[in-house]
Symmetry: C2
Amino acid sequence: MRIGIAGLGTVGGGTVRLLQGKADLLAARAGRRVEVVAASARDPGRERGLDLGGVRFERDALALAAAPDIDAVVELIGGAGGVALDLVRAALESGKAVVTANKAMLALHGGGLALLAERQGVPLLFEAAVAGGIPIVKSLREGLAANRVRRVYGILNGTCNYILTQMRETGRDFAEVLAEAQGLGYAEADPSTDVDGIDAAHKLALLAAIAFGGLPSFEGIHVEGIRRVSAQDIAYADALGYRIKLLGVARRTEAGVEQRLHPCMVRKDAAIAQVEGVFNGIVVEGDEAGEVVHEGRGAGAGPTASAVVADLIDIARGRWGPVFGVPAAGLEPLRPSPLQDHAGRHYVRLMVQDRPGVLAEIAAAFRDHDVSIESLLQQGRDPGRTVAIVLITHEAAERAMRGALAQIGRLEAVEEPPCMIRIEAL
Amino acid sequence: MRIGIAGLGTVGGGTVRLLQGKADLLAARAGRRVEVVAASARDPGRERGLDLGGVRFERDALALAAAPDIDAVVELIGGAGGVALDLVRAALESGKAVVTANKAMLALHGGGLALLAERQGVPLLFEAAVAGGIPIVKSLREGLAANRVRRVYGILNGTCNYILTQMRETGRDFAEVLAEAQGLGYAEADPSTDVDGIDAAHKLALLAAIAFGGLPSFEGIHVEGIRRVSAQDIAYADALGYRIKLLGVARRTEAGVEQRLHPCMVRKDAAIAQVEGVFNGIVVEGDEAGEVVHEGRGAGAGPTASAVVADLIDIARGRWGPVFGVPAAGLEPLRPSPLQDHAGRHYVRLMVQDRPGVLAEIAAAFRDHDVSIESLLQQGRDPGRTVAIVLITHEAAERAMRGALAQIGRLEAVEEPPCMIRIEAL
């Protein structure tokens, strides 16, 4: 099988090295040799420490789609549209198999690309787009295909999980830990795609599509990042028996599929709470299999190349089917279930003036919106100064919480916008 | 796709119910309808709460292999040989696809069956044979196919893990917890296949075959069960920061593949230590992907039927390849690596008379075999009575440990055979 690789960055370089370094082993597993015959990259002259002798260099990535000597195109350029999308479309149109790690492209254009691939009768595989070295796409699409999934949730961004873990372990605040993570190369110079939850939401859109039998619907995802998580909240969470994790959660409801990506509190002893540092973890709740937990490295050259090459082996073996598990022609974008209807317990932290009557005003606001309080913690007493009130609600709808918190935010004694973190029942 | 199911016990009944109850969903995922057309069972008349109208009942399981209206045979009879083996052979010989949950049969006869299936050009799939609802066979064979596996290890028997977890949580001894587990239906009346490690070793043989590119070699596995694990050792382990788990471990060495199934001490904070109760967990260490952890339910009607039906969907989609990942004709049984050469740290508990000089004799025995002691704990003082000495060794070879413990066992002051538990480095 002859491969053309577009993009020779960390993952592209790792993929070339893997294919060359284990050629015999991979040939046995794939049933035929898998060879890189052509590659494209923005800077052809750059030193990459790769042996590219015998690999034709194309200045224009689109040439890979047209080349008659290429069976499968590996797209590692990135970006939701642009050259990546043009290349994948052109490759599918010319009847080539495609492997991609491009979560943004698939989250936004996955439906159309799946239709195209299936019309052309060629595979479009994307194990590397979600959680790097963890074969979660295969596990969900094939391994758990006998299940009606109730909920799939996970830690889908290693940068955010590293930051949250460091914040907890060192007690430092977000900005400081982010700066350190940037210095270590764990976070990008412009960290927004990671810390604002966009990257993880792209991955969630793909998992939800497979789990719930629809085309990806990125617009249907409620996305909040981790910039507003404070060291203080992490410490309170710990005291209350929780960890704060940036979770992507997709769940079937009566109205459709609820998709949300936001900081969550999870019980310390839950499997997902044990996933720390740069690791990713995904839990699938199936009606037959029960909870199945997957954990591993979500990024890096080795893990991501491992996923790319697994897809290539599947293609070589003919071991593939519809892009999202069922034929795209019969699917519609997932119907969003409004977050307003989401019900759960909530953590709330309020910074208030310590004076008589404040608590009564707060309690009244919750009562007015039918939110009942499970436990409440007021630390220290410091009359006339600002103190924290921390509370956990009983199960309440998002709509009610927002109403109560808006009312509380308007109270004179409340000095900062209320901080609210949803507790995920696990 | 027309299915014949042999065996209508818990798993067989669950499989029929799953195929009937989700016929439309499964048809979308499989690309065609998957229908049970025939079944066989020892007792045809038994009430099973199944709708078997339209399902032909065969008294002789072998009739399923011969029936021209059956495309795939599901073997859920069990037993390493006998009818199960005859049926699978006959089905493959008549060109039918086979799905089986039979770990014993595959561990002992998997090589020959794989050769037969591949010669016939038909699939032989066995996701349900290892760890029930966790799609570990697929993950290892396909999802991680780009990796050279360094080590694969896991908790492969839920009964043993339940017993060990209960022992730790309640402080009770093996016999008492086993009796309770039998009462609850978590352990069989004759528990030996589980508690002596045989069942888990069968599964390990299959994982090792896929991971290390050989035919299963059950005879090459060193097997010890959990009967000799005492409440005392579990308590000491806890105090030292460990949990005791019955682990199956397969690891590549210079000599071949080391396969062992025995109680291990693992660090409390290791992912595998968090797998408690009836759950199973498997960790694959790949050279590209790093550590990938899988956890879920290893038994029961739902999880096992989930695995059986996933295999059927793969067959319907044509998504299959060689039985153990590479063609069986090119494989040999895994070459065993002698346990004597295994090196690791060890926990040792000695019951000794509390009198001067005993420790010196013990220390001398370790020194004579070049085993050095990392830490030592002698609890209480009780001159003239029996006390426990607990120690952890530095890394030492199995051979040296056995020599030292044999010498120690012969000391007059040592009142019970030494208890040794290997510490698995994770």
